[in-house]
Symmetry: C2
Subunit: 336 residues, 2 copies
DNA sequence: TTGAAAGCGGTACCAT
DNA sequence: ATGGTACCGCTTTCAA
C-alpha cells in the first residue's frame, strides 16, 4: 500500500500539499493539484483511515447495538441504519447483545477502544452507566426503540402505549369479550409500554384480571407455553394481544395445534408490522411501526450529531398504524 | 481518555514498559507489572486500538458482506459470524450490498482504507477483481455460500445441487407428475447450482420442458409473478420447487390467492430451512442448510487465517437435509 | 529488566 | 501557494 509520502515524492511536492488536496483544505494551485491527483491515481493510493484517526480525525465508524439481529424487526432496523450510514460514508459495527448484559458491557469497552464516532443502541438490557460513559467522552448516542426518561440522550421510537391501546380497541370492536396479553419482557421499555397500553383499556372491564397477562420474550420460542398457561387459566378468552409479531406468529401456530380457529374462536393481534404477518394463513392484524424509517431517522440524527450539526437531546416519536389482517376478521360490534 | 504516557507517569516507568505489560511481551519485573497494572486500573486506561493499528498491530476488525440482511437466512448467518467474532475479540462491520455492484465496490474500497483484518463475503454480485485485491494485500478472505472455482480462496457452503435433487425427488415420491422450478437469480452460484440439481432429475422425464423454470430473486416479492407465469404456461403443474424458502413462502401465499390447495393441488418445497417454514399453514417442506454452523465455521476459518494458524485455501461443504413439512404431504408413490 | 527513540501514515500549524 | 515539522498513541528495536 502506497503512503502519502510516496505520492508526495512522485508528484514532487510535500506531504503537506498532498494532505491539502486530499482534504480539500487550504490553498493549492490547480496545476499542483492535478499533479498530485495524477500521482494518487497512478499509485492507487488510498489514505489510511486509521492514520487519520490517530491524527485526530473521525474514523467514520458507528456502532449499532441490537438485542437480536435474527428478529426481522431488528434486521430491518439494521438495514436502514446501514443504508443511511453508507450514504454518509460511515461504516457500521454490528453488535448483537443477545440480551446478555456481559456481552453488552464488553462491547461498550471495545467500542471505546476502537474510537467509534457514535452509537445507536436498541438493546433491552443496557446499563445506563455504560451509556453515560459515552456522553462523558462526547461521543453521540441515539437510543432507538427504547424510552429512557433520562435527559441528554436523543431518542427515536414509536408510540408503543398508544399502539397497544389501538390493538385492544380493535379486538374489542371485533367482538372480543375477554382479551389476554402476552407481553414482552418487562425489563424492556417497549414491553412495559405495550402492557400499560393494554391495561389502560382492559382495566375498565369487569372481566379483567391480571392473570390474563403472561410474559413472553419477544420471540417465537416460548410464546406457545405462554399461550398454554393463559388457556389453562382462562379457557374462555376470545382475543389475544401479543406484544410483538413474532409472538403472534407463535400464538397462531399454537392455537392451530390446540385446534382453535383464528379468528372464529380466538382473534389475534400483534405489534411491529413485520412482513411475515402478511404471509400467514390467516394474515395477522398488527400495529405497524415504520421500521425502516425509524432506523433511518436514528442514523441520520446520529450522523448530524457526529458532525456537530445538531447538539442536545431530542425525542422523535413515530406514529403507529393498525393494519387489519384476517386474524381479527370476526363478527363486529360497531364500525362495520 | 488517559494515554499510555499517563499510565507510565503514574507508575513511574517508561511507556515501553507499560506497552510490555499490555502486550505481555518481553521481560517485566513482577513488582513493576503490579505497579503498572494498578495505574491502568486507577486511570481506567483503555489502549487505543487505532494507535496500535497504526503501529502495526491488527485492528481486530472483520467485514461481513451480505446481499440482504433482512433475509432471515442472512441474518442468521450474521448472527453466527458475530457470535464467533466476539468470542475471538473481533468486531464485525456489517456491509449490506443489496445486490448492488456499486455499493459493493465502494465497500471494498472503504474496507481497505480502514484496515480490516479479514473479510467474509456472501454476496451475489461481487467482482472477482475486487476480491483479488485483498489477496494481493495478504488480507484473508472467506467466501460463504458461494462457489467460486477459482483457487486461492477458502469457501464455506453447503451441497446446493445435491439438495435440489433431494427436493425434486421428494416431490416425485409424493406423487408429483409435473414439477416446476422458481429459481434464484442465475447470476448467483447458489441459484444456478439449485437449478442444475433440479434439471439433473427432471430432464429424464418426458414432461420436462425448460418453460417449467422461472427465475426469481430469492425474495418474497416477485415470486407471485413468477408463479403466475408458470401457471399460465402450465396449468397442470402439481409440484413446485422454490429456490429458497422466501420464494416458497411467496408461492404459498399466491397459490392460496389463486384458490389452489397445498399440497392437494400443488405440493411445494423450499430451500434453506429458515424457521418460518415451520410457522406457515401448511408448514413448508424444505432442504435445510445448517445456517448458523455455516456462519460460525466461516468466522472460525477467517480468524484462524488472520492469526496465521492456517494458510492456503480450503473448501468446507456442509450436508443438507430434507425437512418434511405439510406442503408435500400428499398421496405417496413409494416410501409409505 | 528497563528506557530512549524511531517509526506507523496522516494532519495542521507556522514559516517562507 | 508550498514546505518543514511537531504531534496523535502505541510498538518495537537497540542500548544501557
Amino acid at each position: 500500500m502506497p503512503t502519502i509520502r510516496d505520492v508526495a515524492k512522485m508528484a514532487g511536492v510535500s506531504v503537506a500539499t498532498v494532505s491539502r488536496v486530499i482534504n480539500q483544505s487550504g490553498y493549492v494551485n490547480t496545476k499542483t493539484r492535478a499533479k498530485v491527483l495524477h500521482a494518487m491515481k497512478h499509485l492507487n493510493y488510498k489514505p489510511s483511515t486509521v492514520a487519520r484517526g490517530l491524527a485526530g480525525k473521525k474514523m467514520h465508524f458507528i456502532a449499532l447495538i441490537l438485542p437480536d439481529i435474527s428478529n426481522p424487526f431488528f434486521s430491518e432496523l439494521a438495514r436502514a441504519v446501514e443504508d443511511v450510514a453508507q450514504q454518509h460514508d460511515f461504516t457500521v459495527f454490528l453488535c448483537n447483545s443477545d440480551n446478555d448484559d456481559n456481552k453488552e458491557a464488553n462491547y461498550i469497552e471495545v467500542l471505546k477502544k476502537k474510537n467509534v464516532d457514535g452509537l445507536i443502541i436498541s438493546s433491552n438490557t443496557f446499563n445506563e452507566k455504560d451509556i453515560e460513559s459515552f456522553r462523558d467522552d462526547k461521543i453521540p448516542v441515539v437510543i432507538l426503540d427504547r424510552s429512557i426518561i433520562n435527559e441528554g440522550y436523543s431518542i427515536v421510537r414509536s408510540k408503543n402505549r398508544e399502539g397497544a391501546r389501538l390493538a385492544v380497541h380493535h379486538l374489542l370492536e371485533h367482538g372480543c369479550r375477554k382479551i389476554a396479553h402476552i407481553s414482552g419482557p418487562q425489563k424492556t421499555d417497549t414491553g412495559r409500554e405495550r402492557l400499560y397500553g393494554y391495561e389502560d383499556v382492559v382495566k375498565l372491564f369487569s372481566w379483567y384480571d391480571p392473570t390474563l397477562i403472561e410474559e413472553g420474550q419477544f420471540q417465537i420460542e416460548g410464546s406457545d407455553i405462554a399461550l398454554q398457561n393463559l388457556l389453562r387459566r382462562h379457557p374462555d378468552i376470545d382475543g389475544i394481544f401479543a406484544g410483538n409479531d413474532l409472538m403472534a406468529l407463535g400464538v397462531l401456530k399454537e392455537l392451530r395445534k390446540q385446534g382453535l380457529r383464528v379468528p372464529t374462536d380466538i382473534a389475534v393481534c400483534g405489534f411491529d408490522g413485520i412482513m411475515l404477518t402478511k404471509l400467514t394463513q390467516p394474515t395477522i392484524t398488527t400495529v405497524a411501526q415504520p421500521i425502516y424509517q425509524m432506523g433511518a431517522k436514528a442514523a441520520k440524527m446520529l450522523v448530524q450529531k457526529i458532525r456537530g450539526e445538531q447538539t442536545g437531546s431530542q425525542l422523535f416519536e413515530f406514529e403507529v398504524k393498525l393494519i387489519e389482517g384476517e386474524s381479527t376478521q370476526r363478527n363486529h360490534c360497531k364500525n362495520s
